[in-house]
Symmetry: C2
């Protein structure tokens, strides 16, 4: 396993982690500047942040600073109640692929979606099997475009507590089953993003990381699980503040040959989003050395 | 599948569902009386409620009214930081078995525990593998007593969002792996409790229910998953108010020969615990007919 204790060359900042500073929205160019100033070599930006600043501008900043991406957040949300909705989702995903190409991302991260309308509080139906079928079909159709664009897709299994509204793929095993079906010859076009927050609880995690292997391990995300956790979405902890044995999981991933960035992705309404982003980034650097 | 639409003879009330009425604690004898008055034939009481009223009194009430139990809540919490703690947990579980016998419960439900101290906000360690090992050993030791007492143990896999503090067994597959190890010959001494709230998201649920089979399906619990869910413990929904396709899951369970009660278990600080218990019970009866 790589030694992270002496530097942060393998740290990436998912820009949602500092999307707010002192509670106020922080524009992506400011986030990039703050990262560059600290010698952070990589980011994973969100589409809404890129759009707010303009793709051309962000693309230029990335090139100017020779920033790497550890991923692009995010595609997915494939499910819908009718054909028009499915087509709109697919079209939007194709645009996400093109943006990822422009930003030289190594992969487009997919949060696949689940019951239509559930995120707005009113699910259109209760058939998670149908949602899973739409997700499978959506990824299959998107692959036609993403293969041509040379952009790998990374299915991110999300914690089962998001199964109703955000992602109906909730285990690494399920994500890898999809990879087996949709890219059986392991071309590199399809893989997974392993986030310790979503997967740490899984008794089959080590086994499934080994099943994934280097060619399907496209991204590695870190944060921590707090006790208590007070919100299902926005109460993620800083590495070291929770119960996840992050080095153990990183060891499993790196044993497969993964040699990419450890991407810090923290949503935290009650704590980190209320602090100055400088403090958050400095803490990420420190904890990357001691707790990842 | 049994037709529940015309009556509620297979409804059981987990007494936590009405542990508060209008926000105030409701004693177990009052809960029993309210159930009996409505022709509810079965309950699943919690140990703290039984202790508050006295085991002898509850035992007498159960016999007087010819009430069935659908389970006894609960044993488990097997993990600890030292041998004394492990022994204390085992001793307490043996007492729970004896109480379950006195109340003629069909099984003692096990919420197995996880990282010691996490429930109090400060985990003693991060080794969920160690917790799982202690749980395995704890059930094995408890089985010596429960077999003699003739009391089946029902491992209840809890939702993965409880993996840090309440249960390190989070899938039906994992629970059944434990059954295979600890009771390979399927004597009936060990099985599972399937709660739709904890398991509905699992893409392997149907497959694992079939694997369990009739002899290991000891209890079936219902409530609903709300969108949004605002609390990880106490925001469960009434059947029909959420996204779980409960009849589909009940159909899978009954296809294996399960013919017991559907036990309603709702923890709801913000909604149902604030209402009059009469309204809650009447709603349970109505929804048992339409949404279970």
């Amino acid at each position: 396993m790589r030694d992270f204790s002496t530097g942060h060359e393998w740290l990436s900042i998912n820009t949602a982690t500092v999307r707010k500073s002192r509670g106020a929205e922080l524009p992506l160019p400011d986030i990039i500047e703050a990262c560059v100033r600290r010698g952070i070599r990589a980011i994973s930006p969100w589409r809404d942040q890129v759009q707010a600043a303009g793709l051309a501008k962000i693309s230029q900043l990335v090139r100017t600073h020779d920033l790497k991406l550890s991923g692009y957040c995010r595609g997915g949300m494939f499910t819908a109640t009718d054909a028009a909705g499915l087509k709109a989702a697919l079209d939007d995903n194709r645009r996400a692929v093109d943006e990822a190409v422009e930003l030289r991302a190594p992969c487009l991260v997919l949060v696949v979606g689940s019951l239509p309308g559930a995120l707005q509080g009113k699910a259109a139906h209760k058939d998670i099997g149908l949602a899973r079928s739409q997700v499978r079909d959506g990824i299959e159709q998107l692959l036609e475009h993403s293969r041509q664009a040379g952009m790998p897709l990374a299915i991110e299994p999300l914690h089962p507590m998001t199964a109703a509204d955000r992602a109906c793929v909730n285990t690494l095993e399920h994500a890898l089953d999809l990879c087996d079906v949709l890219d059986p010859s392991r071309t590199g076009a399809l893989g997974v993003a392993v986030d310790v927050y979503h997967t740490w609880w899984d008794p089959k995690l080590q086994q499934q990381i080994e099943r994934a292997g280097q060619d399907r391990l496209l991204a590695f995300h870190v944060c921590d699980w707090l006790t208590p956790t007070t919100d299902l979405l926005n109460d993620r902890g800083m590495m070291g503040d929770g119960v996840i044995d992050i080095p153990r999981i990183r060891n499993w991933v790196e044993a497969q040959g993964f040699a990419g960035f450890s991407e810090v992705e923290i949503f935290s309404t009650g704590n980190w989003w209320g602090k100055p982003h400088e403090e958050v980034l400095d803490t990420c650097i420190a904890r990357h050395k001691t707790a990842v």
